[in-house]
Symmetry: C2
Subunit: 347 residues, 2 copies
């Protein structure tokens, strides 16, 4: 009751009548330069281990330079709260599944200190180095931190496209998806589109704007950009209601829902008076019983691929690593929905 004397290799060695080094070699089943251990001895060691409750100390293994089979999961804000789970849930699920497949444990950096509303990856007591590598999730990634990770050669993968050079990532191709939505709007007769967005400067947000601009140019569509960073949502709604654009595209489903309410107050019904599409995942959301037009994003796959890439970065040596494709874009798909409708001739 008083002493839980932990079992070490030394203890195993004593029992089996061999040296600690022998125990280590049997355990890892390795053949070093000129070391040979006959089956008889190996067996003796194995039996000694079975007699006890020996488990290798992961800290010691790590210190000695071995893999730990621990992958870090860093989120720039709390990931497990009810609200965050909407976004992080599928990602975490994908990560958990893939980690299970790889035989890795997951370390969540919940202790990271919060500065300016976002967690800092590097701090005086970061347990980052305990992991073999790390997955980064969140919109608020800090460029300086990413760059430092690259410089230090620490294995990591960002979920979401990033601009910083050398940063490995797996992202979603919003440019193409956005183009597809515009194409659909055009096919339904629309020529004037308003994009209501948050005015964020993340790569994903930039890609949507870029996709929109590209599609507008190709398909001769006029676009109006309204940012809720400049004016609040009711103002945005007023501008739309008084304008002549026939389609409203929003950055995500939450803005779509809020905007629809505002527009209704201006007497604009969707999709009768105005079509609506969302440049984000719309699964499980609907507007007045109508399915929303938007994206279906393979978040679980996204996360799983990120983890798989991370694993590759960890296990491959430098040469093999150089050949890896560090940046992957994944295709999402369009959810037709019913909020983007044929343009009425009546105009």
């Amino acid at each position: 009751m008083e002493k839980p004397p932990k079992v070490t290799q030394r203890e195993i060695a004593r029992i089996a009548g061999v040296s600690q080094a022998t125990v280590s070699m049997v355990l890892n089943d390795r053949e070093y330069s000129n070391v040979r251990i006959p089956e008889a001895t190996r067996e003796r060691v194995r039996r000694a281990i079975e007699q006890t409750t020996y488990v290798p100390d992961p800290a010691a293994r790590r210190l000695a330079g071995l893999d730990n089979k621990i992958l870090g999961v860093f989120t720039y804000e709390a990931a497990l709260s009810r609200e965050s789970l909407d976004f992080y849930g599928p990602l975490l699920h994908g990560i958990e599944q893939e980690a299970e497949r790889l035989g890795c444990d997951l370390l969540f950096f919940t202790s990271s200190p919060v500065e300016d509303g976002t967690r800092k990856l590097f701090h005086k007591q970061t347990r980052l180095r305990l992991t073999d590598g790390c997955i980064l999730l969140g919109q608020q990634m800090d460029s300086a931190e990413l760059t430092r990770l690259v410089e230090e050669g620490f294995p990591f993968v960002a979920v979401g496209r990033r601009d910083e050079p050398g940063v490995p990532y797996v992202g979603i191709d919003y440019v193409t998806l956005t183009g597809d939505i515009v194409e659909q709007a055009v096919a339904l007769g629309h020529r004037r589109i308003t994009y209501a967005h948050y005015g964020r400067s993340t790569p994903a947000a930039a890609d949507r704007v870029a996709g929109l601009a590209l599609a507008a140019e190709t398909m001769l569509v006029e676009t109006t950009l309204l940012s809720t960073a400049d004016s609040d949502l009711s103002e945005v709604a007023a501008v739309i209601a008084n304008g002549t654009d026939t389609v409203v595209i929003t950055e995500d489903v939450f803005m779509a829902e809020a905007l629809a309410v505002e527009l209704a107050e201006h007497g604009k019904a969707i999709p009768e008076d105005l079509s609506l599409a969302v440049l984000g995942d719309v699964e499980g959301h609907s507007l007045g019983g109508r399915g929303m037009t938007g994206f279906q994003l393979p978040r679980e796959q996204l996360a799983a691929e990120a983890l798989a890439l991370l694993q590759q970065l960890i296990v491959r040596n430098d040469k093999a690593r150089a050949k890896l494709e560090l940046r992957t874009m994944i295709e999402g798909s369009i959810v037709a929905g019913a909020t983007l409708a044929q343009l009425k001739e009546s105009r």
Copy 2:
């Protein structure tokens, strides 16, 4: 680009012109037996650290016997899948919040091998020892593993009441809650109750049965127990429909929903023909627009208290630890709902 030579205390020492030992002592701001370090030297070391990107290696710290500020989270099945999240979500949220408060990271043992459908805590490569202590979640806890943890003196806390001696836990008082439900039924005129359960042998399941028995005896109520382990749900429904009991209590909300469907086929409406109550959390669930009668369980608080207790087990020395209350029961509350109704006189 080729060499990320990690910064160690030795390197800091070289820069500051002191010994590694001095660096360590400055970092931990400790005063050993007869060691004194003047402010001037401390400052020199601190500046050297600021010049570099030094961060202590957690593996080395751990090996040297210090706290790691890492708490383990062990679940007996995958916790982050969409279905599991129903149950684990609030618990994990509570854990995350409390961990953040305590400044601890969380290690999820996703690599634990699955045997007989449930994960094993102990295996040849368990990273358990990397953590300062561990939280156990899930219905399927393995008695042998719990006992071994107790024997080894490893700090841990189970979420949910356990029978094994010496196991610290934080659980929900199902006995009292169940009694309250019965009391309510009696107040509404009911005297004959059927309890439909899964026939599990977990402590929580046993507590519900015990609470029911206790209440039945006190309040002179007749109870019938039906287990879906013995017969399937439609049979259970048939027995209930043909019987004379006026209240059905189910073990959880899922069984309640399924049973309600079956009962409807027998022409029994709830609560007109039969009252229904659930011995589990009913938040967010309803039956044909009617709120369910059942429990509201403070899952987040439960998890947070478990983590707080774990932290106490870790930081206190043996003596102080002996005085700790290792077993805590938390009170949930009753959700009145509308599926448990006044008994019609017409009988």
